[in-house]
Amino acid sequence: MSLAKTILLAWDWEPSIIIGCAALAIGYAVLARFRFHRITSFYYLGVVVMFLALVSPLDTLADDYLFSMHMFQHLLLSAVVPPLLLLGIPLEWWQWVLSWRPLKSAEQILRQPPIAWLCGITALWLWHWPRLFEAALYNENLHIFQHLCFLVTGTIFWYPVITPVPGHRMITFPAVIYLFTACTFSSLLGIFITFCSYQIYPFYLQPADELGILPQLRSLLSVHEDQQLGGLLMWFPCCLIYASAILITLGKWYDKSPDESEAPSGPAEASTTMVR
């Protein structure tokens, strides 16, 4: 089969995903009354990335062939899509959602940094436990649940960092610690998988080769190299995302504190305008 034909055949047009993404896209447009804001592009970028991650040949490679591509897919679902989606939701919508009491209480609990952090990191470590991970590879429903889990816990994790609701967003220094520790702990998992000398997930030893591309893939990446690359993808790009978030947070804080005041004034006024 030619390369082009293989790529065409490798798309996984799962109906639930198509319907879900369409619903997200259309629902947003309707709620926004088809008006375009600056943040709309973030939201749609998130939907597009999610759609591609779950439907494009990346999904086929991830589910059937390569551990590294599976890690890349999970990275997109838990660390790229949720922040993009969150960034796209305007403040008024959050306030409308939070006007419902049960949702307000849920948000109150879930946005506490220790809880949000634990949600994100625990989901990460738990789903990489070999038994669970392999079970998800063999069981399609569990796999869908796994992906939903990443999307939901990712959203919970990024919410305290991104939310536009005043007073609900973490202030700078705790946010930096939050992101830094998350970076460290997800790196540790990546480091562990990279340097592990044995095969953690036996599924990838003998994948069922429906597309007939296994020999070409194996000529590029042996099984062991595939695992190492997966660990490296979990480690590095993930770290870059957290590092960028830290830099953006610090940059925003930097922009906020006043640096030159407009009125040159004497010592008395300087002490009353004391800000940090």
Partner: protein, 760 residues
């Protein structure tokens, strides 16, 4: 203390300074004043003087090496002596010169730049200095006993271990680095607390002079990099002295693991060395261009980016170790990426100079030379990020040239620049410009003469660390040129010493602000009085003194609108930190200790997969029994929490009880641990018996040492309370409680990983 406005709070009693009041203690002058001082200025001077002394020693070592390399097949120095020379030269220059002198300049200047009276923890400041200085003395004691370390400054295993290194020199190396490392770590904690809590009113973080900002970032980098090398050194010492097998391939240990640990520290370390230099350059260039720095935000943020990225590039020191290519691709890309923020800064500094009114004082000349030489060093460095190039040039003289271009041509030149800039403030006299120009040109010619040709020598294939070389084409003449340059460089250092001596006696009086600079340290006398400032000028921007001199100027930027609630919460956090400096310091220290334990746990997990390990673990450990006596430790967290509550309420009688309870529970835990260890040894499972023994006893043992330290502190506090030497334990106990809870949480992880995951 909390009733004082923030600008007047210090961590020690404020004394009204009468002009002739004695400085410290009963004796006001002489050596006693220096030995007992906690004044950041005196400590800063001591740091700098100590670093200068070690610079001369390290320079002598380098000079001896270059004399040995003047001609091929030179038999003047024996190989062992040469090995000792390059080892000591590396350790001295990195850990006893560059890091301490920059920390010393920061310890002196940062409180002045932020308008503070001293650092946040002056006594800790003194402890840090003495640890560094005495750690250096310990290293050179190895020479005195005739066994200097000879395995290179980074001492790869197993060369650093028996049977390749039976001599005691490596023990001195490891122990002195541990001491120096702790001194550096405590200075970093102090620096963070100082910059965060003791800024004068109006000095927002965004108005910080770049040197202070760089020291803040540098301190965080030190906080997280040092524990990794501490763990590695502990493992090396355990291998050497206790018979563990961490890095001994013969016993299933891994020599490569040492390199991973070392370079995880080592790469952030090189940024630790260069970031203060960037800070000094960012002060000097704007002042001598009469222009504010171009791209302040870029320079500040790019430093944070570099600090974050620096932890993710260490494998580029190991490209020749035969690790899988997949890893090499990722680290190669990351290493190229990290060059970008540095490049941003070079452009910012050049942009500052363009259009400025340049004054080429000696300080400025060193700064300009820094720009050129550091860029050259950076370019040769980024060449190493390409794996095939690295395979050709690793451990050749090209590498030696690269590292000297960034560390000498970069950091040392920046230090000279900062020194010529700040010497007037420290001593009250200007350094002679005439001698300074001689110093500058001799240094530039000597430095480039020494190291430029080494790039070529590297291409010709000359490896580093060889005590002599054969008569291959091109090698003798290039080595001769390099050695001649080194002699010139050595002479230039003598010129610098002459400048110091001459200017201290005959230098022009400097006055408050000889350079017409703008940051706060120039708003007080030279040298500053003990209390630093009689009055801090109003701080309305980044250049307070310029603004004071030009009140009508139009150089104002628009306000940014703040989100009120965020600012209020941030203020509350900041106020809490300022009111709780000991607790905040403990939190910083514990953040660092976390990485120490993470490193030991990483070694444990790594060796878990060695054949036979799981079986040994399963046979040796009894998770149920250990879990039961762990309850004692967890219960002690509850008792110390109650003790803290009673201390806050002033209920000293109940406090006694809860404190004793905590001590008793902690001691119970320790007793059972000791019993477990003894039981294991009786069964033949000790620290030398297998990889399990090595990792288990080290990890659990270190946790036990932490518990023991906590128990000793608790006992001390109890004793002080019982003897009525302290009226209340509210603050010390609050600080200790954080430590105690930390030790508990660490045990949760260790128990889970060692006893549950590792043994079931």
């Amino acid at each position: 203390m909390t009733d004082l406005p923030l600008d007047q709070r210090t961590n020690f009693p404020v004394v009204a300074a009468a002009p002739d009041a004695p400085a410290t203690g009963a004796h006001s002058g002489g050596w006693y004043r220096w030995v007992s001082t906690v004044d950041h200025k005196l400590l800063g001077i001591m740091y700098m003087v100590t670093a200068l002394a070690f610079f001369l020693i390290g320079g002598l070592e380098a000079t001896l090496m270059r004399i040995q390399l003047f001609v091929p097949r030179n038999a003047w120095l024996s190989p062992n002596v040469y090995d000792a020379l390059f080892t000591l030269h590396g350790v001295t220059m990195i850990f006893l010169v560059i890091v301490p002198v920059q920390l010393g300049m920061a310890v002196y200047m940062v409180p002045l730049q932020i308008g503070a009276r001293d650092m946040a923890m002056p006594r800790l400041n003194a402890l840090s200095f003495w640890l560094t200085a005495l750690g250096g003395v310990l290293l050179y004691l190895s020479v005195a006993v005739g066994h200097p370390p000879q395995a290179g400054w980074f001492a790869y295993a197993p060369l650093s271990l028996p049977p390749f290194a039976f001599y005691a020199g490596m023990d001195y190396w490891a122990l002195s680095l541990l001491l120096i490392g702790i001194g550096t770590l405590t200075t970093a904690m102090n620096m963070i607390l100082t910059v965060v809590t003791l800024r004068a009113p109006g000095m927002t973080i965004r108005r910080l002079p770049l040197f202070s900002w760089m020291m803040l970032v540098d301190s965080f980098l030190i906080l997280f990099a040092m524990p990794i090398i501490n763990a590695a050194l502990v493992m090396v010492l355990a291998d050497r002295l206790l018979g563990t097998h961490f890095f001994k391939p013969v016993y299933q240990g891994s020599a490569v693991l040492y390199q991973h640990f070392f370079w995880s520290f080592g790469h952030p370390e090189v940024y630790i060395m260069i970031i203060p230099a960037w800070g000094m350059i960012s002060e000097v260039i704007p002042v001598f261009s009469r222009k504010p720095i171009f791209g302040y935000t870029f320079v500040a943020m790019s430093t944070v980016a570099i600090a974050l990225l620096s932890f993710g590039v260490w494998v580029h020191h190991m490209f020749t170790m035969g690790l899988p290519m997949v890893e090499y691709y990722v680290f190669s890309a990351a290493s190229m990426l990290i060059a970008v923020p540095t490049g941003v800064k070079i452009f910012a500094w050049i942009g500052t100079m363009i259009g400025g009114s340049l004054r080429f004082t000696t300080s400025m000349m060193f700064a300009v030379a820094f720009l050129i030489q550091f860029t050259l060093g950076g370019l040769s460095g980024v060449m190493f990020s390409a794996v095939p190039v690295d395979w050709q040039l690793q451990s050749s003289y090209f590498l030696v040239a690269h590292l000297h271009y960034v560390l000498f041509g970069g950091a040392v030149f920046a230090i000279y620049s900062g020194f010529y800039y700040w010497f007037p403030k420290i001593s009250g006299r200007l350094l002679s410009e005439r001698i300074g120009k001689w110093h500058f040109w001799l240094t530039v010619i000597g430095f480039n003469g020494t190291f430029m040709v080494q790039h070529v020598l590297g291409f010709h294939g000359m490896p580093r660390r060889i005590y002599t070389y054969p008569d291959l084409p091109g090698w003798p003449i290039l080595n001769f040129i390099s050695s001649a340059g080194a002699m010139l460089l050595a002479f230039s250092t003598l010129v610098f010493l002459w400048n110091l001596y001459w200017s201290s006696r005959y230098g022009k009086q400097a006055g408050d602000n000889p350079w017409e600079a703008w940051t706060l340290e120039w708003a007080t006398t030279s040298p500053p009085p003990e209390h630093n400032f009689d009055a801090v000028p109003p701080i309305l921007g980044r250049r307070p003194l310029w603004r004071a001199a030009h009140p009508q100027a139009e150089d104002v930027k628009a306000h940014y609108i703040e989100e009120p609630r965020l600012v209020a919460r941030e203020k509350r956090l900041l106020d809490w930190v300022s009111d709780n400096i000991p607790r905040s310091g403990m939190a910083l220290f514990l953040a660092s200790e976390t990485l120490f334990f993470v490193s030991l746990v990483a070694a444990f997990i790594y060796y878990h997969y060695v054949p036979g390990y799981r079986a040994s673990a399963h046979q040796a450990l009894n998770p149920l029994r250990t879990g039961l006596y762990s309850i004692a430790l967890f219960a002690s967290s509850f008792t110390i929490w109650r003790a803290e509550a009673n201390a806050r309420a002033g209920n000293n009688s109940r406090l006694h009880g809860w404190l004793l309870g905590t001590i008793a529970l902690g001691a119970t835990f320790m007793a059972f641990q000791v019993l477990e260890f003894v039981g294991l040894c009786h069964r033949g499972i000790d620290i030398t018996s297998s990889m399990f023994g090595s990792t288990f006893f080290t990890l659990v043992g270190f946790h036990g040492l932490h518990v023991l330290a906590g128990l000793l502190m608790l006992a001390l506090l109890y004793g002080l309370l019982a003897a009525r030497l302290l009226p209340t334990l509210k603050r010390p106990l609050a600080t200790l409680a954080i430590y105690w809870h930390f030790v508990d949480v660490v045990w949760v992880f260790i128990f889970g990983i060692v006893y549950l995951w590792g043994a079931l």
